[in-house]
Subunit: 182 residues, 4 copies
């Protein structure tokens, strides 16, 4: 017999910008953060038993993320985590300072009660051969499976916040050995 | 400091056909299982620390899968699992009898030493609005995170083999309550 | 100095169905003519000085087009041509009997006052590697350039109605030499 | 009866760069002219009776095109036109100075013996919602239909070289009234 789950998994998705959301502006002749993209990306995925609440915080290139902006991201996550309104939180973020934000969250919330996953993309969703769909899909899958904690998810890897490092040569995330290096 | 994992995660991907691999044959004017597709799907994903070994078993619509074909799928999985050459196994399969094959595997291999994940798609990879990329990406992510066992992964859900059921109305997989119903 | 044309080119686009409009029905597990597609195809093109009026006549596979349906297509074209409300007419049609309809139009309207272009596709618009966009774009371009008459346009070729023949081996349209063969 | 044309239509396609060929460089985090794209665009089109000879001249943003580079483009076209080896010539070019190059060609070749068509795109081929495929398809169609001369083809419009003007507001080409303004 079939019994559908009465409650769906509650996922809070916080959008902060980053390469994943860049789109081509034909007037300026370059990629910009001009319009929301995450909503369309999620729309193209199928998650019948996940209630996805998208909250748009900002739309910045993470290289330009200011201290107060990063603090705002951390504060929002803390508020959601404390309210207990989400079974997991996924944050889309530029890859350049994703590790910095991850560590800030881990520091501020040393014992989270739910998984907090940061992801992004090396190629914008609206550009050919993008890794955006894969990363978003895998971040959502990981959000349902990992123990509470703060992680980065990219290219099929789940890495604890303290260990995330961007590999600029191979354009992916890797796991560093030295835990104490912030 | 950065230390790359010397050993990559070893994933064995067995392709059996199904809707996920159907392509349009302009001569016949319909979708057919005429050429391998899984290889291209995987090629479009980025998994720098996963060694993906694709083995093509067959290319059948799962409604047409014969007893001996299903047995061949189970036998191959058993051989790989026993050889210990894979850290996880993902099987792409038609959705109509994916549950049947999953249960056959669970029966034959009651205590697997690695995750065995079955997935597929409701819409072919080579057709608009396909769920193929999402399901493959999430199956691979789940293969790295779940405990050894036999599961179906589709649309962001991980369901134990004994509980998988295809929901023909909503065109997804659901989890049944009644474990003893085979 | 720039002077924009006060009057835009008036294109009437009649949709009759055909392979070009087939979409995947996940319930039936096959391609069907279930929802309008031409509107989306045209939406994806940019024609700032063409006023495109889409009229949906029917949605049939051209192999199944009945005599009265074909007559309805011809009658509608005749009405538009006589009313003089279009500078050109483009008809999307299944490729199997496109030539038949083209000849019926040419017979009924021996001296058209505008170009009448029939086109379609060998692969549906909503399937990978489709020729739909190319054919639609080229049919619209031809509609602006050719002398009044009845033509089939496919794969970069413009062929007079009496000469159109479907090449089932190479899956394209060719021009036959023998004009009198209807 | 079917008689295939013994001689195919000979199209010479000269690639000079421009927005149409820009691709995302994940290392630099921006769009660049780093790899040839026109070959792939043409590969995705179907032209069974056109022999397309692609000649890559350069890969520059047309805002940066130097006088000697523009002269090289004109010289190559002149050589091909004089040799009579092409039934038509299509040039892919950045849209910013496409009009300049068109006029230079028209000046150098006042009585061409074949159509010479310049086209490009407002959005790169490898970016979402690109007009590249439409413009290329329509440029090729126009090359078969127009009288010998020099033209710009974009967004379904064919404009004589002397009249082409880029509309920076609506991001398309328009036809100016004043012929003598170079």
């Amino acid at each position: 017999m079939n019994a559908s789950r009465a409650t769906r998994f509650r996922l809070c998705l916080l959008a902060t910008g980053g390469t994943i959301e860049k789109t081509y502006d034909a007037h300026e002749g370059r990629l910009v953060l001009g319009q929301p993209v995450i909503e369309h990306l999620v729309d193209g995925l199928t998650h019948p038993d996940i209630a996805i609440d998208i909250q748009r915080l900002m739309a910045v290139d993470s290289l330009d993320m200011q201290a107060d902006e990063r603090a705002a991201v951390v504060a929002r996550i803390q508020a959601i985590e404390q309210a207990g309104t989400a079974d997991a939180i996924v944050v889309t973020h530029g890859t350049d300072t994703l590790a910095t934000t991850a560590r800030a969250i881990a520091q501020q919330i040393p014992h989270p009660t739910c998984p907090i996953i940061l992801t992004g993309a090396m190629r914008p969703y609206r550009v050919a051969d993008s890794d955006a769909t894969q990363n978003m899909a895998q971040a959502i899958m990981a959000a349902r499976l990992v123990a509470p904690g703060v992680y980065g998810v990219l290219h099929g890897r789940v890495i604890a916040a303290e260990r995330i490092e961007k590999d600029y040569e191979r354009l992916t995330f890797i796991e560093r050995d030295d835990v104490d290096r912030s």
